[in-house]
Point group: C2
């Protein structure tokens, strides 16, 4: 059985209108058969947040929604909470403080059960803090700014559902290029992934590759530092970093990207239907002209005049060919 | 005579403490022989702004500072104002509204005189709006955000002192990746240059290449869209753009970058003096060991013991060689 999809949501996903992302999550969880576990450990408003998602997921057709909210590493060893994850067909991690979330769950039976759910094919989704924790390396906290500066952010260990990566969220809205660039400059084996609000990176395994599809209103920004030239190993505290040669991919909804090979998967080109209809007409005209030349041996100028008359009269071709 | 240096300043340059950038500008203008023309057309507080720079440049050693502030295209045809630029050894354009600046000066005798000053070797500097106008294509205005979105910004014609480029300023502070990415996605022949506050891109001509050096507290971000894959020619109004494969260079103070070939110019590696001293000592030890082996024919273990004793006693080498 292949691993389940990951849904990495950049925060502030639409809950009132089209609900594109949450609808896709409920469907991936099994729709009318869905049994969704909501993990609100990151949030300081746990019960209230669970209530919102409970109502939403049921409205979108889920059969059952349960709250599993360990508040300490001791809770995260509770077999009853772990058992809830074993029965889930979908896991959803809320926003809040990602360092609290990772500090409570990573490396516990509860954390292992999230990883196991993913591995047995269950969809694992998370928004904001719940997005960050999915990567192997997690942005713990850090300030805004476009320019990477030494020590402007900190890395902690995430769940590692997504290999060799670091995820950041609220990317468009909170000016987070700097902190993501700092991390990939210091760790160029990682791929930096910045997810905008109301946007999800949906990652699925395809032939051993992690393939990402973008859903929602914003974009997913990928920073590939494979060929970086940097001074991040020696720059002084708070000084801007040299980060030269990072390859940047901004990917709006509908884009597909191979995270393993780090390449855009291009779609077949879209055709404009009007342009196609026009081209078909020109092709018919040229074919008719060729037939006329063969039949009458008249000059091209006379043929163009005949064509103009045909278009003007808009008669069907087999008739006006005879009267020309 | 080669063209003069350009100083492209990202706004809010330090005026009270080290004044690194303004000091370099006054020196490039000729120091005690400097005759600086301040162009405050962009600013709504023209006379006050001129007063500030007048005081600063004189304090930094300039002989003379003159205000030249056309307020209309008619002013920009005034031969007296043009004559001031012809006598200047340095030109400084203030911040403010860059679209007002370009609308008043570009394509007038006054604008031509700025270009002519640059071409005869005079340093031309500008901060904020005065930075933007130096590129061939100018960001006219536009909102913040990290993700490029269709029509989030507008392009107007700049002075073109810097070829095939678009400059943005306050880059770190005002979350301007999005608008610069939108412009290079629509115009992939341009190089996008984002300059942080209190930071300058100093561009000089070297063997027909435009070579940039970074000065100041922040960084200069270069976006090279040469190999971009984008949908910017067909994306709908306000939707995020596909901008895949843009090469990103973040360049702090001291970096040098060839804007013509779009490559980082690397410096010789810096050596840590402590590490160098240690290496020299190891090298001396190894040479001594080789001499000892040749003289005594003893085993390496015994030699290492002798070396340990030497270090312990810290005697000069020519003596302890005899007593070992």
């Amino acid at each position: 059985m292949p691993a389940g999809p990951l849904m990495i949501i950049g925060g502030a996903e639409d809950k009132l209108r089209k609900r594109t992302i949450l609808t896709e999550f409920v469907e991936a969880s099994g729709g009318p058969d869905a049994r969704i576990a909501v993990i609100a450990t990151a949030s300081s408003l746990g019960p209230e947040v669970v209530e919102v998602y409970d109502a939403l997921f049921r409205k979108l057709g889920a059969a059952e929604v349960v709250s599993v909210r360990p508040q300490s590493r001791e809770d995260a060893h509770d077999p009853e909470l772990v058992a809830e994850l074993e029965k889930a067909t979908g896991v959803f991690m809320t926003g809040g403080n990602q360092l609290k979330l990772s500090a409570v769950v990573c490396g516990t039976p509860f954390g292992d059960a999230i990883v196991a759910a993913h591995q047995r094919g269950v969809v694992v989704a998370g928004t904001s803090a719940g997005a960050s924790i999915q990567s192997s390396h997690m942005v713990a906290f850090g300030g805004p700014g476009s320019t990477p500066k030494q020590r402007m952010t900190q890395v902690a260990a995430g769940l590692g559902l997504l290999r060799s990566s670091v995820i950041d969220q609220h990317f468009d809205q909170r000016n987070r290029y700097g902190r993501l660039l700092m991390i990939v400059s210091q760790s160029p084996s990682l791929l930096g992934i910045g997810v905008d609000e109301d946007t999800a990176a949906v990652v699925e395994e395809r032939d051993g590759h992690e393939v990402m599809r973008v859903v929602g209103r914003g974009a997913v920004t990928v920073l590939d530092p494979s060929r970086i030239v940097t001074n991040a190993y020696e720059a002084k505290r708070s000084s801007p970093l040299l980060s030269s040669g990072v390859v940047l991919h901004v990917l709006p909804a509908g884009s597909r990207f191979d995270l393993t090979d780090r390449v855009l998967l291009t779609e077949p080109a879209r055709h404009d239907p009007e342009e196609a209809a026009e081209l078909a007409e020109v092709t018919r005209d040229l074919q008719r002209m060729a037939r006329d030349i063969a039949a009458d041996d008249v000059g091209p100028a006379e043929l163009r005049r005949r064509q103009a008359r045909r278009h003007h009269r808009t008669e069907p071709p087999h008739q006006d060919g005879a009267t020309a």
